[in-house]
Symmetry: C2
Subunit: 460 residues, 2 copies
């Protein structure tokens, strides 16, 4: 089957307008938000509108032997959605319906192209809460969140995307449609296929519908923020907050370098000797006031320079503002490579010390904000993109941070995933036996290696 | 290799005392707690003391072509741990060490033979909480809880076993040792092998170590209990409690038949016209008093005959006593077949109506206690074991309840699993495509079908 024959077949089965061959549009869909990930030139972009149409696309692709890369909003940070030469890009953008919000059973059923923020707002209007809140939530899709098992700021209390996925409809590489999981709160019928699809980065099947658990709407969060002269003090305060059982609904850390970059970018009143900044929230209703006072007390005891407590939602928003400025503040400083290692909380001091040593060794700047309650940090290597030597050193530092995370008993990726960017380090984290199991699972779902074939694992 | 040669090889590799051939001991290890599940005659019982010894056992079994059935405390309710003719029973009883309780990171690392209650008490002594609390918790092992993804009373707030399993060490059928998952709160490196092992009933590998998430110790729970003249009223009150966002830490329902059986067994002061009994708890600390008052108000509004609120832990225990008497109260009435269907909460009224119709059709008694907050009920068919016709009708009713659960959008098993008892209904719940995926996954992990070969799926 030639490319033109394949396009014609797809135009007949899913409609003219759903098959895009315009080179400019194809070019604009080659990449997700990962830096340093090569992308190929796609053959076609298709926008199926239903499960049956997804099935048609996969059957046609299978017969033509053309690989398929599924794309949501392409906000991923590891290249999982990058095009492969000669592939079909399968966009879920037209499958964007919230099919049901069941208030009594606290469940939503959605198509994969629904934007996270649209779902979050729709359920909030019914007094419910969909917690997963990746930074991309205003743009990213539920399908993409599932494919990457996206995290976010409120994971520290509520968990990640996978914790809210109860059931899925998935189209396999064969074009067969399979439902997995359940709608009920509990269920142990057979193997947990649902969790296997979550985080599989489009390599095992295409999600066409998701049944998601919701929670009762939380009460408004109150916030405390504290500055310290050292990173160690901020980390010690974070550990003490977690140990105290205060169940923070957010616990974010900025190292001194990041805090100073933000202060340079916009005057947030941060002291010039700031060594770290900690922001903590509680959404435990009546108890939140006491929680925040206790968090503030813990920070003071840990040696804080200054502690601020918000008494209402607006003040809380203000205190969170510094966290929101991390990306804008770092952007003017150069190109960035963002790691997302997670380590046991008690190894965070060693992680930060090790990162300082790595920055020195490779002569790069590394900023270190992160979701400290989860031990999930975002060491960010900033460098001059126009300097090839600096870029090479940055890449080496990026890898060294992952190796440090593994050495500290952690993982190379807490929330961004493997995609194309981290395949070699995944092999290191898994070891040979788990790697073999990965390849066998891939084959069990996709025997001809049709779906996103060069992602997550190196081609065999 | 003859049986005697296999035993000799194992005696050399794991020690004389770890290899049991005494027919009486073998006989006493043939069954778990499931009723109506046939069990075969094992060849050997082995009690390895380490991961390396488990590996030795699986290698020897593989070479001899002898199937292996892993056993914890054999408290399962679906026959997953039942012997197969000519198998090796692999008991985890000697691998019963709590290897680590990490207070700072709120993680425990345990061997599979640790009793749930031993772990729960050990972490409580350090101010931490391991929530999964199956009724068998004083006897059952963490390995067995993982193999069945065990639930319990507090799932309604805290989730099931799988929600607390972060990482596993597993010995594959090949004897290879593989580590999967992580110790950190978050992690998305590769496919979620850990969730695939959870609930796989010993068919994919032998768990030799588990890394478990812990929580801060909850505050003491307070309790409300209410009686109603009908099942509908009790179910409506339960739905209203869930909808109110009160986050009950326990929400249990007894239908009228069960409540009356308990009252006959022991005078609990339940009215003779009781149509249902609802028990609800809150462990939200200072807020628990208000929660319980609100739960009581909801019950009164739903038409309760009587509502009791506990003002302390002792009164709470008293109110829970009726729930604890379900099994002793039903036991004298005959043999039992316990279902564990879960349905969306709003279909519970239909489930109970349908069960009444099933009881009439098959001329059996069906009692209906359950974890109503999860929609997970335990319809219990009680019949005269000495009457083969009654037994046959009971089995038909047992199956009809599962089919009803599926028809209502639910699952055949909320927490007991498939084992040997429910394989035919699993095929119905999965459908042909998911069933094929199950068989491929089994082959990916265990190509020669060595591990618990006739459980979960029918032999192919």
């Amino acid at each position: 089957m030639t490319a033109e024959q394949l396009a014609d077949r797809l135009r007949i089965s899913i409609g003219d307008k759903a098959v895009v061959t315009d080179p400019d549009i194809l070019n604009s869909h080659r990449n997700d938000h990962a830096t340093f990930c090569s992308a190929g030139t796609p053959l076609l972009l298709v926008r199926p509108a239903s499960t049956a149409e997804v099935s048609e696309v996969l059957r046609a692709a299978g017969e033509a032997g053309v690989p398929v890369v599924t794309q949501g909003a392409r906000t991923g940070l590891s290249g999982a959605a990058n095009a492969i030469d000669g592939c079909i890009l399968l966009s879920t953008s037209r499958m964007n319906q919230i099919l049901e919000i069941d208030v009594e059973d606290q469940v939503a059923v959605v198509q994969p192209g629904v934007i996270n923020a649209d779902l979050s707002r729709a359920v909030l209007a019914k007094g419910l809460f969909y917690p997963p809140d990746p930074s991309s939530w205003e743009m990213s899709t539920i399908g993409g969140n599932i494919a990457t098992n996206a995290g976010g700021l409120c994971c520290v209390k509520y968990g990640v995307t996978g914790d809210f996925v109860r059931g899925l409809e998935v189209v396999l590489a064969s074009g067969e449609v399979v439902r997995m999981g359940r709608r009920t709160a509990k269920g142990v019928a057979g193997y947990d296929l649902t969790s296997l699809i979550v985080g599989s980065e489009g390599t095992l099947g295409v999600v066409t519908e998701a049944t998601l658990a919701l929670r009762p709407e939380p009460e408004a969060a109150l916030t405390a923020a504290a500055t310290f002269t050292s990173a160690e003090q901020g980390l010690a305060a974070a550990a003490a907050i977690m140990a105290a059982g205060l169940q923070p609904s957010l616990l974010e850390f900025l190292d001194g370098a990041t805090a100073r970059a933000i202060q340079n970018y916009r005057d947030m009143g941060l002291p010039s000797n700031v060594g770290s900044l900690l922001i903590a929230q509680s959404d435990r209703g009546l108890r939140a006031v006491d929680d925040v006072a206790e968090m503030a007390r813990i920070c003071t005891e840990a040696g804080a320079i200054e502690v601020a407590e918000a008494s209402d939602a607006e003040e809380s928003r203000m205190l969170l503002e510094a966290r929101r400025l991390v990306n804008p503040a770092l952007e003017p400083l150069g190109a960035t490579l963002v790691d997302d290692v997670a380590v046991p909380r008690k190894r965070l001091v060693d992680l930060l010390d090790g990162i300082t040593a790595i920055a020195t060794k490779y002569d790069v700047q590394i900023f270190c904000p992160g979701h400290v309650g989860d031990g999930n940090m975002h060491p960010t290597v900033v460098f001059d993109r126009d300097n090839p030597a600096a870029e090479e050193r940055a890449l080496q530092a990026f890898g060294a941070v992952m190796e440090l995370g593994l050495a500290l008993g952690g993982t190379i990726t807490g929330e961004h995933g493997i995609g194309k960017l981290k395949r070699q380090w995944l092999e290191q984290e898994l070891g040979p036996v788990a790697l073999t199991l990965h390849r066998r699972l891939k084959t069990a779902f996709d025997p001809t290696n049709l779906l996103n074939p060069d992602k997550l694992l190196h081609p065999h």
